[in-house]
C-alpha cells in the first residue's frame, strides 16, 4: 500500500529534471500552463513516470490530466 504522500514525493522527484525554470510546485500546478512543457517534454516525462511506477498512462488518460494533483491521483489509482 502506497500512500499519497509517497506517490507525491516520487512524482515531484521525476518532475525536477524537467522543471528547467524552477517553477514552484503544488497540486494545482499545470503542466502546459505553469511548467510550459511542449509535447516532447511531456512524452519524456510520461515515460519517466511510467518507468518509476511500472504503469501505462495512455494518451487518452493524459488528456484528463492537467495538474500535478491530478497526476498523483491518477498514479494512485493505476497502482491500486
Amino acid at each position: 500500500m502506497t500512500d499519497r504522500n509517497d506517490i507525491q514525493d516520487r512524482v515531484l522527484e521525476q518532475i525536477a529534471p524537467f522543471n528547467k525554470k524552477g517553477v514552484e510546485l503544488s497540486d494545482a500546478t499545470t503542466f502546459a500552463g505553469d511548467l510550459e512543457w511542449d509535447s516532447l517534454t511531456v512524452m519524456d516525462f510520461v515515460a519517466a513516470i511510467e518507468d518509476e511506477f511500472d504503469i501505462i498512462i495512455s494518451m487518452n488518460m493524459q488528456a484528463e490530466i492537467e495538474t500535478i494533483g491530478q497526476l498523483i491521483d491518477a498514479v494512485a489509482k493505476l497502482i491500486g
Binding site: D38, S39, L40, M43, D44, A47, E50, D51, D54, I55, I56, S58, M59, N60, M61
Partner: protein, 407 residues
C-alpha cells in the same frame, strides 16, 4: 459569440510575420506546367522537382498514361459510388489483384487515399479497450485513426525498441494489442529497425501494422518495402501503402494474410462511406504496380541518386537528418523557420523545388528542407541540385563560406 476561429490566431500571426518579411509563401506554390516527373514550370521558371515523392517517376510512363486514357474512354470519368454499392468496377478488382501479386499476400483492399487507408484500418481493428502502441513520430493519418477508433493509445520514443517493449509489457493481460510502425519515416528519411521491433511485438502477442508508404517500389529486393528488406514481411499482419508516391497516382491500400480480412469491406467506415477511385486512376495504378515489380534497374539508379545527393550536401556543410542515406528522402535541417523559408525561396529562385516542413509535422520542433529523389533524376541533375543547394546555402548563411569538400 465566441469566434470559433480564434484558436487559429497564433498560426495566423506566425504566417503573417513570415510573409511580411517578403518571402514567397512556401505553402502556396503553383505549378503552371509539369514537363516530366522531375521538371515543372513554376512562376514561369523551369524548376527541378525534388520534393514530390514521385520516387519511381511513373507519372509520365507511356504505358501508365495509355492505361488511364483507355479506362477514361471505356468506363467514364468516375464511379459516383461506394465500393460496396455501385463503385466497384473491373479496374478496382484488377488493381487489388496487382497488389496481391506485388506483395505476395492473400488480400488487398483499396481506399480512395492513403490517409483513408490508415484511418480506416486502424480505427476499425483497434477499438475501445484495445491498445495501440505506436512510434511518436507516426504520420497524422495514423494518429487520426487511433483517435477515431477510441483505443487506448500508447506512444513510445522514435525507433526505441526498449521503450516499445516496456509499454507492451505493461498492457493488461487479455487486451487486444496493435503495434503501428512505419518502414521509412518521411520527415528525416530514416528507417525503422523493423526486424527487432516486430520480434518484440510478436513476443508480446501484438498484431503488427507497418506503413510502407515511402518504401514501396524502391526498398527491398522486390520493392515491397523495409519489412521485405529486413526479411520480416511474413511477420507483418497489415501493410499500409499508397498510390500517391512510387505508384504515381492517388489512392491507398492495405494488404494482409489475415484469414478474416475480407470482412473489413463491410465494417470499415472510411472504405464504405466514400466514393471509390475513378476508373482511370485504378487503371494507371494497376499498370504502374505491375511495372514496378520489374524495376530493379530503376531502384539501383535511385539508390545511386540518394547516395550522391546525401554525400554532396554533407560535404557542402549541410546538417542532414540521417548520417547515412537510408531511403530516397534526404532531409536538410534548418536552424529555424525564418531561415528555412529564406533558403527554400533561394532554392526556388535557383530553379529547385523542395518541401519546407515545419512543426507540428516535424519531430523535435525542427524546420526541414525535405528532398525526395526520383529514379528519373539524371546523374547530371543531381550534380546541378548540389550546386544549387551550395549557392543558396551560402547566400542565406545556412552554410559558411569557408566550407570545402574536406569540411
Amino acid at each position: 459569440m465566441t469566434d470559433l476561429f480564434s484558436k487559429f490566431d497564433p498560426l495566423i500571426e506566425m504566417r503573417a510575420n513570415l510573409l511580411s518579411s517578403g518571402v514567397t509563401d512556401p505553402f502556396g506554390l503553383v505549378m503552371e506546367k509539369v514537363i516530366s516527373p522531375t521538371v515543372a514550370l513554376c512562376n514561369g521558371r523551369e524548376t527541378i522537382l525534388l520534393g514530390t515523392y514521385n520516387y519511381m517517376g511513373m507519372t509520365f510512363d507511356p504505358d501508365v498514361i495509355q492505361a488511364g486514357k483507355d479506362a477514361l474512354d471505356q468506363f467514364g470519368s468516375g464511379t459516383t459510388g461506394s465500393r460496396v454499392l455501385n463503385g466497384t468496377y473491373a479496374g478496382h478488382k484488377a488493381v487489388e489483384e496487382a497488389l496481391k501479386d506485388f506483395y505476395g499476400m492473400d488480400h488487398a483492399m483499396v481506399f480512395s487515399t492513403g490517409y483513408q487507408a490508415n484511418l480506416g484500418i486502424i480505427s476499425t481493428i483497434a477499438g475501445k479497450g484495445d491498445y495501440i502502441v505506436l512510434d511518436i513520430d507516426s504520420h497524422a493519418s495514423i494518429w487520426d485513426g487511433c483517435k477515431m477508433g477510441d483505443a487506448e493509445v500508447v506512444p513510445f520514443k522514435h525507433n526505441d525498441i526498449d521503450a516499445m517493449e516496456k509499454r507492451l509489457k505493461r498492457i493488461p493481460e487479455g487486451a487486444g494489442k496493435l503495434v503501428v510502425l512505419e518502414g521509412v519515416y518521411s520527415m528525416l528519411g530514416d528507417i525503422a529497425p523493423l526486424k527487432e521491433m516486430i520480434a518484440v511485438a510478436k513476443a508480446h502477442g501484438a498484431m503488427v501494422l507497418v506503413d510502407e508508404a515511402h518504401s514501396m517500389g524502391f526498398i527491398g529486393p522486390n520493392g515491397r518495402g523495409v519489412a521485405e528488406e529486413q526479411g520480416v514481411l511474413d511477420e507483418v499482419d497489415f501493410v499500409i501503402g499508397t498510390f500517391s508516391k512510387s505508384v504515381g497516382t492517388v489512392g491507398g491500400f492495405c494488404v494482409s494474410n489475415h484469414p478474416k480480412f475480407e470482412i473489413m469491406r463491410l465494417v470499415c467506415r472510411p472504405y464504405v462511406f466514400t466514393a471509390s477511385l475513378p476508373p482511370s486512376v485504378v487503371a494507371t495504378a494497376t499498370t504502374s504496380i505491375r511495372k514496378l515489380m520489374h524495376a530493379s534497374n530503376k531502384r539501383a539508379h535511385l539508390w545511386e541518386n540518394s547516395k550522391t545527393l546525401h554525400k554532396g550536401l554533407r560535404d557542402a556543410g549541410f546538417q542532414l537528418g540521417t548520417t547515412e542515406p537510408q531511403s530516397a528522402i534526404i532531409s536538410v535541417i534548418m536552424p529555424d523557420l525564418e531561415r528555412g523559408a529564406a533558403m527554400w525561396e533561394a532554392l526556388l529562385h535557383e530553379g529547385l523545388y523542395v518541401n519546407l516542413a515545419r512543426p507540428p509535422a516535424t519531430p523535435a520542433g525542427m524546420t526541414l528542407l525535405r528532398c525526395s529523389l526520383c529514379a528519373e533524376h539524371s546523374a547530371e541533375q543531381v550534380q546541378t541540385i548540389i550546386g544549387m543547394f551550395t549557392r543558396a546555402g551560402k547566400a542565406t548563411g545556412i552554410i559558411g563560406q569557408e566550407h570545402t569538400l574536406s569540411a
